[in-house]
Symmetry: C2
C-alpha cells in the first residue's frame, strides 16, 4: 500500500496520474491526495477501479525555515503588508492543504535576497484571506495600514495579496490613498512557494525595487513574461488579471506599464506618473457598498435592473458592447433596455457603461443608438476598465450623494483611470 | 448661417470641433449634426454660447451607386446573408443618420471585387438590425438561412453582421449548424462604408476566400492588424471583440486562428479543423432562453442568485475569478456564495464557471476552495470563453432537460470550444 511521501502512478476513471502521495484530509479518508509534477494537487476517489503503483518512496516532508528580521541601516526603509493569498502560502504536507504563512518570518524565508535591497521596517498582517474573499472592508484596512506606514517613515510599501482579485484591490487603493506621495507596490504569486516555478520571489524583489523608485503611484508588480526574468509595474487602475495561471497573467489595458523591472535593472516605459514628494498620505476610504457590475449579453432580460432598483442599489456599471451599446430595439419590448435604464436613472441610480471589449474607449456619439442611451442619462466611462469603474463608483458614491457631483467625479481622471490618448502599442501589450 | 454640406468650425461647451454640417433630425432641430474628420458624427446643442464659423462650402451629398448582380459561371457559388450592422450601412446625408442598406445591390457597391472571386448565388436578408439587438431568435433565423443555402448548392456562406455581438452569433452558429460540411464566414465592419477607413471591403474579400477553402467550420473573418492588409479566420467559439474601435478588434482567445487571409493569399496557421465534405447540414436551433451570464466581483451579494432562482432560470454561467473562484469565506456569511450556489443547484439550475480572466483555463483541484465549489456541484468549463459558455448553455438546455446529460454536453468538446492544450503563442495573439 502507498504511504505518504511515496511517488505513485495511479490509474482511475480520471485518467493516468503520477505524483507524490499527500496525507488525506480528516473528512475525506476515501480520497487519495496526489501532488502532481505540475505542482497542483488532485484528489482521486478510491474505488475498486483505481490502480496504484508505487514507483519511488520516502519524499522528505520539509519544515518551513525561519529567517530573522535584522535591520540593515544603509538601505531605504520599506514596509510590507501581507494579506494572504498564494504568495503567502505553502503546501502543508501534514494536511495536504495549502497553508497560509501566518508568521512574517516564514514569509521572508522564500526571498532572503529582499533584505539586501531594502530595510524591512515593519511587516504587518492586518488579516490573511484568499483574494476571492476580499470586500471593500479589506480594501479599507489595507489602505489604512499603507497610509500609516507611509506617514511614519516608510519610503514605500509592498502589499502582498492573492492574485484573483488583486487588480480590484489595486484600483481601490489607487482611489483610497489620497495625496499619495510614495510608491505602493501590490504583488502576489501565481504559484505557491513550494513549487519550482514559484514567481513570488522575483515579484517581491521587483516590488522592492519599485519602492525605491520616484513613481508615487499604486502599481501592480507581477511577471512581464512567463519566464522568471522581469516584472512590469502596471498602473493600479489599468491592470487586469488576463490569464488563469501564467506567471505573466497581469497586463496593462489601454495604458503602457510604468516600467520594466529586473532584479538589478529598472527601465522606465511610461513617464506619465506622479513624482515622489513628502506630502502626508490620507486614507480616504469611504465606500458605498450598494454598487454592482452587470455584464450585458444578447437577449439579456432588462428586468435585472428591477432587481437592483428593488434592492436600493446606488450605482450600476454595465459592461456594454462595442462603443457602448445594450439593446434599445423599439421593435422588441421584451429585450430593449431603454425603459428600464430610464427607470433606474429616474430612481436616482447612477448608471454607467464601461467597455465589455476591455480595450478601447466608449463613444456616445458615433451612432444614434449610442446617443439615445447617453441622452437617457447613461454615463459613458471612456476607456475605464469595468472592474476599475465598479470600484470607482463605490468610492465616489461613498463620498457624495449628489448625483451631479458624482457624475463629474466619475468622468474626472483622478488617478489615471481614464486615458483619452491610448498609445498604439498598448493593445495586447 | 451654415448650410448642409458646409465645412464649419464650431466652438461650444463641448470644445472645438471641425466638420461638415449634416441635415438635422426631424425631432431635434436645435441640435447641429456634424460629421467630424474622424468619420464619427457629433450632435451639438445649439444655444447662445455656440459659435459657428463657415470655412468651406458645398460638399456634394452623393447618392448610393448600384451594382448589378451578374452570374460569373467559372467561380464557386457562394451565398451572402446580410443582417444589418455597420458593414451594411452608410451615412445617409439626407437625414444625418446611419442608414441600413436594404438592397443587396447597394451593399455590393462597396466591394465590386467580390464578384471576381466568387459567384454570388444568392443574397438574402432575413432581417436587418444592429448587433446589440440580436437575440437567440435571430441566431436561429441566420442558422436556418445558412443551412438552407449550404444544402442547395452553395460552397460556402458569408454572413454579414454588426460587430458588437458578432462573436456571440459566431458561437451560436457553431453550435446550431450541426454536421457542418462547408465554410461559414461571419464578418462585419468596424467603420461604415462612407469612411475612408472602411474595413468591410477587405473583410468581405477575405470571407469569400475563406469560403473557397477546405475549412468546414464557422469562422469570424475580420482584420488581423489595424492596417488594411490581411484578415484572420478565428474559430467561432474562440473569438472575442477585444477593442471598441480598432479594425483588428477581434482576437482568438486560447486558440490560434485557422488562417491568415490576404486578398490574394491564404496562409494556414492551425491545421486543427474539420475538412469540407458533402454531408447535409442541419439547422439544430433549439434554445433555452432562461440562461444568464453573471460576472463575479469582490463583495458581490450572492442574493443575485435568488433573483435567477425566482425567475425560474435553467442555467447560469458565472464569470469566476482566477482558476474558478467566487467567495466561499465561511467567516463572512454576507458575501459567501456557497449557500446560494448550493440552493441554485438544488433547485435544478445548471451553474457553470467560466474564466473571468478570459485567457487560460479553470482548474477545480488546485486549491481546496476550488474543490469546495466543484463538490457543491458547480461545473468548471475549462478554457471556454464566458460568452461562448452562455450561448452553449442555452443551446444545450434547449436540447435536454436532464441535468446529467446537459452537464456531459457542457463538458464535451463539440465544436472546438474547449482547448485543453492551448499553444503558448495564443496568449495576447
Amino acid at each position: 500500500m502507498a504511504k505518504v511521501g511515496d511517488r505513485v502512478k495511479v490509474e482511475s476513471k480520471a485518467g493516468m496520474h503520477e505524483g507524490i502521495v499527500l496525507p488525506s484530509q480528516e473528512d475525506q479518508k476515501n480520497v487519495l491526495m496526489l501532488k502532481l509534477n505540475s505542482g497542483y494537487n488532485i484528489g482521486i476517489k478510491l474505488d475498486k477501479s483505481v490502480k496504484i503503483k508505487v514507483i519511488g518512496s520516502g519524499t522528505k516532508l520539509e519544515k518551513f525555515p525561519i529567517v530573522n528580521l535584522k535591520e540593515n541601516k544603509g538601505l531605504p526603509n520599506i514596509s510590507l503588508v501581507t494579506t494572504g493569498g498564494t504568495i503567502g502560502s505553502r503546501l502543508d504536507y501534514k494536511t495536504g492543504a495549502v497553508h497560509t504563512l501566518l508568521k512574517p518570518e516564514e514569509f521572508l524565508a522564500n526571498v532572503p535576497e529582499l533584505m539586501q535591497i531594502v530595510n524591512l521596517k515593519k511587516i504587518s498582517q492586518p488579516f490573511a484571506i484568499w483574494s476571492q474573499d476580499m470586500t471593500y472592508v479589506e480594501w479599507q484596512k489595507i489602505a489604512q495600514e499603507v497610509a500609516k506606514e507611509l506617514n511614519s517613515g516608510a519610503e514605500g510599501v509592498i502589499v502582498t495579496h492573492g492574485t484573483d482579485t488583486l487588480h480590484y484591490t489595486a484600483a481601490a487603493l489607487s482611489f483610497m490613498l489620497k495625496s499619495l506621495s510614495k510608491p505602493v507596490a501590490l504583488t502576489g504569486g501565481q504559484r505557491s512557494s513550494d513549487r519550482g516555478s514559484f514567481d513570488g520571489a522575483l515579484n517581491l524583489i521587483c516590488a522592492a525595487n519599485y519602492c525605491k523608485s520616484e513613481i508615487a503611484e499604486v502599481s501592480l508588480i507581477m511577471h512581464g513574461e512567463d519566464a522568471d526574468t522581469y516584472c512590469l509595474a502596471i498602473r493600479g487602475t489599468k491592470a487586469r488579471k488576463f490569464h488563469t495561471s501564467r506567471r505573466d497573467a497581469f497586463r496593462p489595458i489601454n495604458d503602457l506599464p510604468f516600467a520594466k523591472i529586473w532584479k538589478d535593472k529598472f527601465e522606465l516605459v511610461n513617464p506619465n506618473y506622479k513624482r515622489r514628494t513628502n506630502t502626508k498620505v490620507i486614507a480616504d476610504t469611504k465606500f458605498e457598498p450598494k454598487v454592482a457590475l452587470v455584464k450585458y449579453f444578447p437577449g439579456a432580460d432588462p428586468d435585472i435592473l428591477n432587481y437592483y432598483i428593488g434592492k436600493k442599489y446606488k450605482g450600476i456599471v454595465i459592461e456594454a458592447t462595442g462603443l457602448g451599446n445594450v439593446s434599445t430595439n423599439p421593435l422588441n419590448k421584451k429585450t430593449s433596455w431603454l425603459p428600464m435604464l430610464k427607470k433606474a436613472i429616474d430612481r436616482g441610480i447612477l448608471v454607467c457603461y464601461a467597455p465589455q471589449t476591455l480595450y478601447g474607449q466608449l463613444h456616445q456619439f458615433a451612432y444614434s443608438s449610442l446617443r439615445i442611451q447617453h441622452d437617457a442619462g447613461v454615463l459613458y466611462l471612456g476607456d475605464m476598465l469595468p472592474e476599475t469603474a465598479l470600484v470607482k463608483l463605490g468610492w465616489v458614491l461613498g463620498h457624495t450623494k449628489k448625483l451631479i457631483e458624482a457624475k463629474q467625479l466619475m468622468l474626472a481622471n483622478l488617478v489615471g483611470e481614464l486615458n483619452p490618448r491610448i498609445p498604439e502599442e498598448a493593445f495586447l501589450y
